[in-house]
Subunit: 324 residues, 2 copies
Amino acid sequence: MKLQQLRYIVEVLNNNLNVSATAESLYTSQPGISKQVRMLEDELGVQIFGRSGKHLTHVTDAGNDVINISREILAKVESIKAVAREHTLPDQGKLNIATTHTQARYALPDVIQGFMSKYPKVSLHMHQGTPSQISDLAAKGEADFAIATEALHLYNDLVMLPCYHWNRSVIVNKDHPLSKKGSIDISDIAKYPLVTYVFGFTGRSELDQAFERAGLTPKIVFTATDADVIKTYVRLGVGIGVIASMAVSDELDSDLVKIDASHLFDYSTTKIGFRKGSFLRSYMYDFIERFAPHLTKDKVEKAMMLKNNDEVEKMFKGVTLPVK
Amino acid sequence: MKLQQLRYIVEVLNNNLNVSATAESLYTSQPGISKQVRMLEDELGVQIFGRSGKHLTHVTDAGNDVINISREILAKVESIKAVAREHTLPDQGKLNIATTHTQARYALPDVIQGFMSKYPKVSLHMHQGTPSQISDLAAKGEADFAIATEALHLYNDLVMLPCYHWNRSVIVNKDHPLSKKGSIDISDIAKYPLVTYVFGFTGRSELDQAFERAGLTPKIVFTATDADVIKTYVRLGVGIGVIASMAVSDELDSDLVKIDASHLFDYSTTKIGFRKGSFLRSYMYDFIERFAPHLTKDKVEKAMMLKNNDEVEKMFKGVTLPVK
DNA sequence: GTCAGTTACGGCCCCCGTAAGGATC
DNA sequence: GATCCTTACGGGGGCCGTAACTGAC
């Protein structure tokens, strides 16, 4: 059994059982992969992939188990390399962060700036995507961290740590009737056409829940994946906006009126996620702590040992998180 | 990085940094190992072993981390092989049990007999040893299961599940004064020369504790690692014996008088231990359940996910175990 | 002087890449 | 017919084993 054989079967699955595509993605030849896969199957005495004629059609039960274990092995191989780099060049390395527009635009810039000035030799990569793309990148090990508010809970091989709470504000044009009201309630919002986040993004579920609880149906006329687009359409008079409070700037958005709505919705929790069992470089621990000061190296290591994310939630039950 | 390189460094450590001995134990040449170790070090850019001149003197910090991860990788490689065998030959395989005399002689025979008749194609190996040897075998993966009462708690990469409680009986010759007493207390025992287990064996610590609690010092004149030897010396009149109740047979030991002493000592708990993260064959789950009926596959899998053995103890806190 | 690890060298196996063949859609 | 995997074959690298060398106790 060779490590590359394990790499091959994992990548073949990642490429939807297309061996040719796999070969290209690994910069090697297709027959090479085919052969190694069959050699591994011969050695183990089990089919990993089901075949109809010469096409791979599905993953067998045994194959599924084998591939899952292989993934763990390959993750640990990466850990060994990370350990080695940590001992030779503690301040050098890579940091791949997968995150959403909201985080990248409003929550991360300060942290990133501080981080980059302390670790000039760490090459930082940001990948923007949908919450599920983000989780996927982290689960496959292509990103070190996933930072988002939604959808992270689906992956059980990611550890997800709560970073901060946030809530929403309503934004309206200055001439809008709501701009004069001191405080608003949920029925005020339901009266007007609404512009907000797309489902599955940036705490959208808490928003829907609040309306449902109140027995109201909001008139959502436009949804976007980021606050900047939402603000643009609010300015055009398409409707009133509901966005994360941190996305409204006093200076840049002085033409809009911001009305706090944190009493109307449950708070959302932004989380940072990474692969269970992976070795974290010291600068990674530092990054986490810069982003969420309560997540010290100690706490993170403890959380990594828990068996699932329900346990992690329990662990942080009593902790008061920062609010943004 | 090659799997064999990882195997080499792990085995070099297992052989006390002696490369020649390692080569012999792996049936390969010494220069081959030396070279692969250095190649791995070169690739990682870190020394794994510290050297003074040409001798390996110690393991570096980095090397320690690397070797620990390597062990996990190699364990998972074994898991892959086990998965494969499980899918091809579910009723064939090996089962290596490391245990003490007491278990092998009194607790296991019934279980083994039933197991062997159900799984005639599983080749069963029993390794008898001291509790710490047993733990060691299991931790290194040379035994699938460790079954013992003592010393298992020291290894944190073993999962240890409680199997049954047991307590002690006093055995005396028929003409001994105690043979007439209906019930005895701890001071009765302290009066006479005592023959019992060696320290570190078969729940010896609970025995010592009971005397200490009572402020008494037993006159221990002879210790042995197994009940058969103890019984022999009791017969010779060397002293009275204190052994596990299950080690006294009504038929075979009819020349001795057995006096229950379970009210005098804390019960001991015999445990079964195996490597965390290893893949257990279906017949292994069956073996566990035959030995300890409350340990169903479900329960065992749950326990494997816990982070340490304190958690395991918590999990089984409310469960009433069989008594032997 | 003995033991232990390193260096040097040669053989062999295995892995990979190219090219051609056959199956499936 | 296009796509995709398999088989066949040749080249090259790397792993292993033997043998000789060198440093340490």
